[in-house]
C-alpha cells in the first residue's frame, strides 16, 4: 500500500492539496493508496514515521514554515535518514533555491512551484502519484544496486545497468546504462559477487545478460541490444555461448 502525507503550514492550501489528492483517489478507486495524514505540524509527521518505518510513503512537503525557512528541508532529511522507502515531493515557492542540491540529497520525485498556479499544482501532484503507482511496491529496494561516490550512497535499479567496465590503471568502475555513465571506486570482483545475473566476459567487463543480443565467436565479440559491441576473453567464449543458448 502507498501512504500519502501532506505537510503545509498554510491551512487553506493544506485543505486544497488534500482535496486534490482525494480527487485523485476518487478517480483511481482500485489503486491501493491512502491519504493518511494532512497536517501543518512537522512533528506529527515524525511521530507517524516512527510507527510506520517500513511502509512506502509519499510525502508532499512545503519547505518554508512560519518559524523557519528550512524546516521543510530538515524534515525531509530526517525522513530520508529514517526510511529508505520514502518519496518526497516539495511544494514550494522557492523556485530559485538549490533544486540540484535537494535532488542529490533527498532524491525527491519532483519539485512543484507554487508560482505556477493551482491548475499546474494539481496536475503535478497527480503525475507524481501516477509515477509511483507505476513502480511495483515491495520489489523496489531489492532490485537496487548501491554504490558510493564521495560521502553519498546512490542506488540504481539493476535492470537498468547494461554493463560495468573497470579502468585498467586504477580502481575505478564505470556503470553503463542506456541513459547514464557513472564512475565510482570499487573492484569488478567485488561487484561480480553481488550480481549473480551478470556475466564476466572479460577481465574488465561485467555484462547484464538481459542486454546481450548476440555473440560473435569468430571475432570474440559480444553485441548488446543498444548496438555496442564488447570484446570477450578467448577462454570464456565457449562457456558464454552455452550459457546463452540455455537462456
Amino acid at each position: 500500500m502507498l501512504q500519502i502525507i501532506i505537510c503545509e503550514d498554510n491551512p487553506k492550501l493544506l485543505n486544497l492539496f488534500a482535496l486534490f489528492i482525494k480527487q485523485y483517489l476518487h478517480a483511481h478507486q482500485s489503486a491501493d493508496i491512502k491519504l493518511v495524514l494532512a497536517t501543518s505540524n512537522p512533528n506529527e509527521i515524525i511521530n507517524h514515521l516512527a510507527q510506520h518505518k517500513n511502509k512506502h510513503i509519499l510525502y508532499f512537503l512545503d519547505i518554508e514554515f512560519s518559524n523557519s525557512i528550512t524546516q521543510g528541508l530538515d524534515l525531509a532529511k530526517t525522513i530520508r535518514k529514517q526510511a529508505l522507502n520514502a518519496d518526497i515531493v516539495f511544494i514550494t515557492s522557492h523556485n530559485e533555491l538549490a533544486p540540484i542540491t535537494f535532488e542529490r540529497d533527498l532524491g525527491q520525485l519532483d519539485y512543484i512551484e507554487k508560482g505556477r498556479g493551482l491548475k499546474q499544482i494539481k496536475q503535478l501532484i497527480f503525475e507524481n502519484i501516477d509515477k509511483l503507482t507505476a513502480q511495483s511496491g515491495p520489489q523496489r529496494t531489492v532490485d537496487q544496486f548501491h554504490y558510493k561516490i564521495g560521502s553519498a550512497i546512490h542506488s540504481i535499479n539493476k535492470k537498468n545497468i547494461v554493463y560495468f567496465e573497470a579502468f585498467s590503471n586504477s580502481h575505478k568502475i564505470i556503470i553503463h546504462t542506456l541513459t547514464a555513465r557513472v564512475e565510482f571506486r570499487n573492484t569488478l570482483n567485488n561487484i561480480e559477487s553481488q550480481l549473480p545475473f551478470f556475466y564476466r566476459i572479460h577481465k574488465s567487463l561485467l555484462v547484464n545478460r538481459n542486454y546481450v543480443k548476440s555473440i560473435n565467436s569468430a571475432d570474440y565479440q559480444i553485441i548488446l541490444t543498444n548496438g555496442i559491441s564488447l570484446p570477450v576473453a578467448r577462454r570464456k567464449i565457449a562457456n558464454l555461448k552455452q550459457t546463452f543458448k540455455a537462456l
Binding site: H94, L118, I149, E183
Partner: protein, 439 residues
C-alpha cells in the same frame, strides 16, 4: 696563507683543495658523479703542481675548475654560485684555523721548522679534517633549523650567500692585514676569524627574526581580511534571506487569494491573480549568484564558473548556481579541475543554446570528504546522444568539435584516482565531476 716556508704552504694548500672538493660534493648532491669526482681529483693534482711554480695561483684555478670543468647538472646558476662561495668560505676558514692552530701548538718559530715537518703535516691534516667536519655539521643544523621554521629556500640561500661573501672579504682583508703587519700577527687572524663568524651569526639571526615577523604580520592581516569578508557575506545573506521570506509570504498570500477567487467563482479575480503569480520576476537571481560565488575561495575555480556563467547569460541562457558550503582552496589540482569545468561548461552552453528552454544549472556541493561539481543543461528535443561513446575521441552529437573536449576530460581524469565523472541524459543532460578524499 700563513707565512711558513713554501713547501709546507704547498702541503697545506693541497689539504685545502681536497677539503674544498669534499665540501662541495657534500653540500651539493647534484654535483656528485663519477665525472666530477675524477675531474676534481685530476685537477687538484694539476693545481698543486702549478701552485708550486706560481704561489697563490690555486684560488683562481679553483674557480676555473669549478665553473668551467665540473658539470653543472641541473643546478640553477644562482645556487651554483652560492655553493661555490660557501665551499670556498669553509675551505678558507679551515685552512686558516688549521695552520694557525698548528703553529700555535708546536710553538713554531719561522725559519726553524725543518725538524718538525712530519708533525706539522699530520697536525695540519687532522685540524683540516676536524674543522671541516665541524663546519659541515653546523651547516647541517642550520639547514635543519631553516627547514623547521619554513623559510623560503631561495631566500635562505640568498642570506647564506651574501653573508658568506661578506665573511670571505673580511677574512681575506684580515689575512692581508696580518701579512703586511708581519710578526705581531700571531693571534690576529684567529680573533678576526672568530669576530667574522660572530658577525655572520648575528646578521643571520636578525634576518631570520625579521622574516618571521613579516610572515606573522601577513598572516594576521589575511586573517582579519577573511573575517571582514565573512561578516560582510553573512550580513548580505541575512538580508537576502529576509527578502526571500517576504517574497514567499506574498506568494502564499496570492495563492490563497486564488483559492478564494476560485471558491467564490470570481473568474476575473482568478485570472488576474494567476497572471500576478506568473509575472514573478527573477530580479534577485543575480544577487543570489554573486553571493554563491563568494563561497568559492579557490580563485581559479571561482573564475572559470563565473566567466562561463556570464558567457551563458550573454548567449541568452538562463543560469542558476547553487553552493551550499564554502569551497576551500584546492591546491595545485585546481588547474585540472578548471580545465575540466571549462570544457563541461562549454559543452553545456553549446547544447543549451540549441534548446528551447535554454537553462544551465550549476551546483557545487562540498560534503566531506568530497566535492561535487554538477552541471545540468537543457538539450534540444530529439537530440540523439549515445552516452556510451560520448567520451571517445572523435565522438560528437553534432560536428567534430564537441567529442574532442570530452575525450580530453577523460584523459585528464584518468590520471587521478580520486577524480570521478558521471554523465546522465534523460530530458536534460547532467555532468557530475566528483573530487574525493579532500582533506
Amino acid at each position: 696563507m700563513v707565512t711558513v716556508p713554501q713547501y709546507i704552504g704547498q702541503i697545506t694548500d693541497l689539504f685545502s683543495l681536497i677539503s674544498f672538493l669534499v665540501i662541495i660534493l657534500i653540500i651539493e648532491p647534484k654535483l656528485r658523479g663519477q665525472y666530477n669526482i675524477a675531474i676534481g681529483l685530476i685537477s687538484i693534482v694539476g693545481i698543486s703542481f702549478i701552485d708550486t711554480i706560481y704561489n697563490m695561483a690555486s684560488i683562481p684555478l679553483l674557480a676555473i675548475l669549478y665553473f668551467f670543468l665540473l658539470q653543472k647538472n641541473q643546478l640553477t646558476t644562482f645556487k651554483w654560485i652560492i655553493d661555490f662561495i660557501i665551499a670556498l668560505l669553509f675551505t678558507f676558514i679551515t685552512a686558516q684555523l688549521a695552520s694557525n692552530l698548528t703553529i700555535k701548538i708546536l710553538r713554531l718559530q719561522l725559519g726553524k721548522i725543518d725538524r718538525q715537518l712530519l708533525h706539522i703535516v699530520i697536525l695540519d691534516l687532522v685540524f683540516t679534517i676536524v674543522l671541516t667536519t665541524v663546519l659541515l655539521i653546523v651547516r647541517y643544523f642550520i639547514m635543519k633549523l631553516l627547514d623547521k621554521i619554513d623559510i623560503e629556500q631561495s631566500f635562505a640561500a640568498a642570506i647564506f650567500g651574501y653573508n658568506a661573501v661578506a665573511l670571505i672579504i673580511f677574512l681575506t682583508l684580515a689575512d692581508a692585514v696580518t701579512r703586511s703587519i708581519g710578526q705581531v700577527s700571531d693571534l690576529m687572524p684567529l680573533f678576526l676569524g672568530i669576530f667574522g663568524i660572530l658577525v655572520f651569526i648575528t646578521l643571520f639571526v636578525t634576518i631570520l627574526l625579521y622574516s618571521q615577523k613579516i610572515k606573522a604580520l601577513q598572516l594576521s592581516h589575511k586573517k582579519e581580511r577573511t573575517k571582514d569578508n565573512t561578516l560582510y557575506i553573512k550580513e548580505l545573506e541575512k538580508k537576502y534571506q529576509e527578502a526571500r521570506k517576504a517574497k514567499h509570504d506574498y506568494k502564499n498570500t496570492l495563492l490563497t487569494l486564488q483559492v478564494i477567487a476560485k471558491n467564490s467563482k470570481n473568474d476575473t479575480l482568478y485570472t488576474n491573480v494567476s497572471n500576478l503569480l506568473q509575472s514573478d520576476t527573477n530580479s534577485d537571481d543575480n544577487d543570489s549568484k554573486n553571493l554563491a560565488l563568494q563561497k568559492i575561495d579557490d580563485a581559479l575555480i571561482n573564475g572559470v564558473i563565473s566567466q562561463k556563467l556570464t558567457e551563458a547569460q550573454d548567449a541568452n541562457i538562463k543560469t542558476t548556481l547553487e553552493i551550499t558550503k564554502e569551497i576551500p582552496e584546492l591546491g595545485k589540482i585546481n588547474i585540472i579541475i578548471t580545465r575540466i569545468l571549462g570544457i563541461l561548461m562549454d559543452n553545456a552552453i553549446e547544447a543549451a543554446s540549441d534548446s528551447k528552454e535554454k537553462l544551465i544549472s550549476v551546483a557545487v556541493i562540498n560534503e566531506a570528504p568530497a566535492i561535487e561539481f554538477i552541471i545540468r543543461n537543457t538539450v534540444a528535443q530529439n537530440t540523439d546522444i549515445n552516452i556510451d561513446q560520448i567520451f571517445e575521441e572523435g565522438y560528437s552529437s553534432k560536428g567534430s568539435s564537441r567529442g574532442l573536449g570530452l575525450s580530453t576530460v577523460q584523459d585528464l581524469i584518468s590520471h587521478y584516482n580520486n577524480m570521478l565523472i558521471s554523465v546522465k541524459y534523460t530530458d536534460t543532460f547532467t555532468a557530475i565531476l566528483t573530487l574525493e578524499d579532500i582533506i
